[in-house]
């Protein structure tokens, strides 16, 4: 908690700075901008999620994470300075698009030029509403940079192997609240895993509970679980290789998004991401955070 507080204080001060700049430069600061405007201003604003390891987080007031490293690569390639816009997530990604790409933040109205961790899924980007209009028509999603999946880590002392999900009728497991693993564990298989399931505010807290033996396993995003596994004893806690029957989405791709008006920006940034993926730099960035990397099929 204490750490969190320090982080947010930094956030607020950097925000205050941002706001100050905003007041001085009015228009150019609050709008998502074209590639030309970005290059001319010498700064690119990239939106990353708040407190979201291993992708974007503050450690002793320093921005760290996979998304931060990628954002720096983008800024370097465009020969501009990187300015981070920290996002507080809404209930869905559509809320984040609204708040950070096309309408602006509810308080200071600042928009980002590029948003990290946008889904790269045709059925999502082409989703239509009840009258046939594109739901996300104001946003262009592009440049998938990694493939995400689900992962279980378990305490081998009490649960040596996770052969199937059926094990969790008898062994305890934790998940982050309001996430797919949480829904899955409390409702799949007629609710038979429900009684053995506990929920936590974050995966990191679920890990803490596993370390002290409160639960025997944690299910979450593969990237987060693999990242967190470096901080626990690897002889006792092991990543499982089980399948997740009944989950509609077993794997999905994560990419970037820009306002739909700025396609040229997306082509330029897309080239940067392609180069990172092809020459293995993306893999190296994930390795740096001990996070499992899988290349999106787009590049194969």
């Amino acid at each position: 908690m204490q750490r969190f507080r320090t982080r947010s204080r930094f956030m607020f001060s950097s925000l205050a700075l941002l706001l100050l700049c905003c007041a001085m430069l009015t228009n150019s600061k609050s709008n998502a901008r074209s590639l030309d405007d970005i290059v001319e201003s010498g700064t690119i604003r990239i939106a990353v999620y708040n407190d979201y390891p291993p992708f974007s987080f503050l450690e002793e007031n320093e921005a760290k994470g996979i998304d931060i490293d990628i954002a720096n690569e983008i800024a370097r390639a465009l020969e501009v300075t990187l300015e981070l816009v920290w996002m507080t997530p809404g209930e869905t990604t559509e809320d984040d698009f609204r708040n950070y790409l096309w309408k602006g933040h509810i308080i200071h109205r600042i928009k980002a030029d590029v948003m990290m961790r946008a889904p790269n899924d045709r059925s999502f980007s082409q989703k239509r509403d009840d009258v046939g209009l594109l739901v996300n028509e104001l946003v262009h999603m592009f440049a998938p940079y990694h493939r995400e999946s689900w992962q279980i880590i378990h305490n081998t002392k009490t649960l040596p192997e996770v052969e199937t999900m059926g094990m969790f009728q008898y062994h305890t497991i934790g998940a982050e609240i309001d996430s797919i693993p949480h829904f899955y564990l409390t409702s799949a298989f007629g609710g038979r895993l429900r009684e053995k399931t506990s929920h936590y505010a974050t995966n990191a807290l679920a890990f803490d509970a596993m370390k002290i033996g409160e639960i025997e396993a944690v299910m979450g995003l593969r990237s987060q679980i693999s990242y967190l596994s470096q901080f626990v004893d690897s002889s006792q806690f092991k990543l499982a290789a089980n399948a997740f029957p009944l989950i509609g989405k077993q794997k999905w791709d994560i990419g970037l998004a820009v306002h739909n008006d700025y396609r040229a920006l997306s082509y330029e940034v897309g080239d940067v991401i392609t180069a990172l993926v092809i020459d293995g730099k993306m893999q190296a960035i994930f390795d740096k955070y001990s996070t499992v990397y899988e290349m999106p099929p787009y590049y194969q």
Binding site: T88, D96, H105, D121, D129, D178, S187, T197, H199, L246
Partner: protein, 594 residues
């Protein structure tokens, strides 16, 4: 009263007169608050009385004189922060206290419309309110103006200067908490509820000493959580809500639970009870949490002195439609077989109107107040809905993908937050309702924080070509709809009724409207320039009756409708009245002297 006397047209000279008036600097006492409904020269409570009947005995403005009503002044809330204005003004000693979007408060000279002071809460960047940056109003006590902020703080301002006297963090906004409802003051205690998203919050009711801001008690509204009371400055355990955890929840889901008290509460002096509504259980999908899930979607009677739950009545046990039944419970008495029944009524998001015995929470009767319900075939003897299980949205994982249910009313409710009114003259409730339905299906292509998120898709649709909103006059003794007024756009503003035989409300088209309380005939209309989602009030000043309402389109409807009007296919007209300008409109009418 003599209603036949000719009414003079409003002249400018009256405004000049008014400006020379010296205000009396009296403080608001417990007695002022308890008598608010009877005293017509002020409005010192949200709801125009702690019971929140929104009834005023004033009759100078009546069916015969209403056409004489003219605007006196308008006040722009101005700036960049023009969003939905769901507030109700309060008036004391010729000063109006009103809140606006982004947790702002103004004191305005009620005679001239001149700003006396403005308070702007410095909101942190990380707030994430679910349904627009609204606020519903202040409470007044002693020399204080009390209100809650979007970053979940309770603030007390000096009523003359607007300076902060005390400020308390009620909850941590970073965990998803916020306050949008007006607090209420009962015997020197300021009492507030809390809002929160689906991030695993627990609903609670909080009491503080109004003058000092010291916490007195806190009561969680989810079964299994410990309540606390402060004795001699010490926090003491005060009983677990519902007795023990897990009785009506599976596994550890009670630990989060939801049941937010986001609409605040009412109070009844006869029984000495506070009445708070609670929202939907979390997580949203009912298949994750078999059981009744106490005390979600309920009305709770709470003792203001001890913070203990005296009784509860659950409108939607095991809520599976997001019927977030937080609606206000309004106390009223009626006579049946020569006996006075101490009743209370609530019109729930789920489409049923309930009449309860307010002494013990017993169900007296209930009936639909919307034209059609799809999810229940009726209520049983105890008021529990008789579910139509086919209409329950499916399990997110085991459910067949692509299977869809059409549920009515939609999750925004037969009646949402907008408060209804009860007339002591007609003994009718005037209920602002909406006729819409929703498609719900499991949606594997929804995303949250970049991760695939197994959500449900909701599409709200109107069910009639020519209207969504319906203002209904409902007889709580019979369930009969005495009259109805169909409105093209959804109704989202509060209702007021008066001794002048009028019912007042605003619509998203921008009109402040008055209806004949017996027939529903529209007897007055005034275009305010933006959609109305606030609650009108009336009071008497310098021998004249005034009406005031905030105008300013916003709130949940345009937000859930998103950037395109598609979510409310036929309400596109309302979108046209989007954020233009926000005014407080006041009309006044000379009180006829008998």
């Amino acid at each position: 009263m003599n209603n036949k006397m000719p009414i003079k047209k409003i002249a400018l000279s009256m405004l000049v007169c008014a400006s020379t008036f010296t205000p009396v600097h009296a403080v608001v006492t417990d007695k002022d608050i308890q008598n608010d409904q009877a005293t017509t020269d002020d409005v010192v409570t949200y709801g125009m009385g702690l019971k929140a009947q929104r009834y005023s005995p004033l009759s100078a403005i009546n069916k015969d004189t209403v056409e004489e009503v003219r605007p006196v002044w308008a006040f722009s809330l101005g700036g960049e922060k023009q969003r939905g204005q769901e507030s109700q003004p309060l008036i004391k000693d010729g000063v109006m206290y009103v809140t606006g979007s982004y947790s702002r408060v103004w004191a305005i000279d009620a005679r001239t419309g001149e700003e006396l002071w403005q308070y702007e809460a410095r909101l942190p960047d990380g707030i994430m309110p679910c349904c627009d940056v609204i606020n519903r109003g202040v409470a007044l006590y002693d020399n204080l103006v009390l209100f809650g902020t979007l970053d979940a703080k309770l603030v007390a301002l000096d009523k003359d200067t607007g300076k902060t006297v005390w400020k308390k963090k009620v909850e941590d906004y970073r965990a998803g908490y916020a306050i949008t409802a007006a607090p209420i003051v009962v015997d020197g205690k300021v009492i507030t509820g809390i809002s929160g998203g689906e991030f695993g919050i627990v609903g609670k009711v909080y009491a503080y000493d109004a003058k000092s801001g010291k916490q007195l008690w806190v009561r969680p509204t989810v079964e299994g959580h410990m309540g606390y009371i402060w004795k001699d400055g010490k926090k003491v355990e005060n009983g677990i809500s519902g007795g023990a955890p897990g009785k009506t929840w599976p596994a550890d889901l009670w630990k989060t639970g939801g049941a937010a008290t986001w609409l605040g509460g009412t109070y009844d002096v006869d029984t000495g009870l506070l009445f708070f509504g609670t929202g939907n259980p979390a997580p949203w999908n009912s298949h994750l949490r078999p059981g009744d899930n106490y005390f979600s979607s309920s009305r709770l009677a709470i003792d203001p002195n001890t913070g203990k739950i005296v009784w509860h009545f659950q409108t939607t046990p095991h809520d599976g439609w997001d019927f977030d039944g937080v609606n206000e419970l309004i106390s009223f008495d009626y006579t049946e077989n020569g006996k006075t029944v101490k009743a209370a009524a609530t019109a729930d998001r789920n489409g049923f109107f309930y009449v309860l015995n307010r002494e013990n929470g017993d169900f007296i009767r209930g009936f639909p107040f919307v034209d059609k319900l799809s999810w229940a075939s009726g209520l049983d003897k105890k008021g529990r809905p008789i579910y139509i299980e086919d209409n329950r949205p499916g399990s997110p994982v085991d459910g067949k993908q692509g299977s869809q249910v059409v549920a009515r009313p939609a999750f925004l409710g037969g009646k949402n937050w907008m408060p209804m009114a009860y007339s002591q003259d007609t003994e009718l409730f005037y209920v602002p309702s909406n006729e819409w339905e929703m498609d719900i299906w499991n949606e594997p292509t929804s995303y949250k924080k970049g991760a695939a998120y197994l959500g449900a898709g909701f599409t709200i649709k109107s069910v009639n070509e020519d209207y969504i909103g319906v203002l209904k006059a409902i007889d709580p003794k019979t369930g009969e709809t005495v009259w109805r007024y169909n409105n093209y756009s959804p109704l989202w503003g509060g209702v007021l009724t008066t001794g002048g035989g009028l019912v007042w409300t605003g619509n998203p088209e921008g009109y402040l409207m008055a209806f004949d309380d017996k027939t529903g005939e529209v007897v007055y209309k005034f275009q305010t320039g933006s959609g109305i989602v606030g609650s009108p009030v009336t009071w008497e000043m310098d021998g004249e009756q005034y009406i005031s309402v905030l105008s300013g389109w916003g709130g949940a409807v345009p937000l859930w409708g998103g950037k395109s009007p598609s979510a409310l296919s036929t309400s596109t007209k309302a979108e046209r009245f989007g954020p233009l300008n926000y005014l407080s409109v006041i009309s006044k009418l000379r009180k006829t002297k008998a």
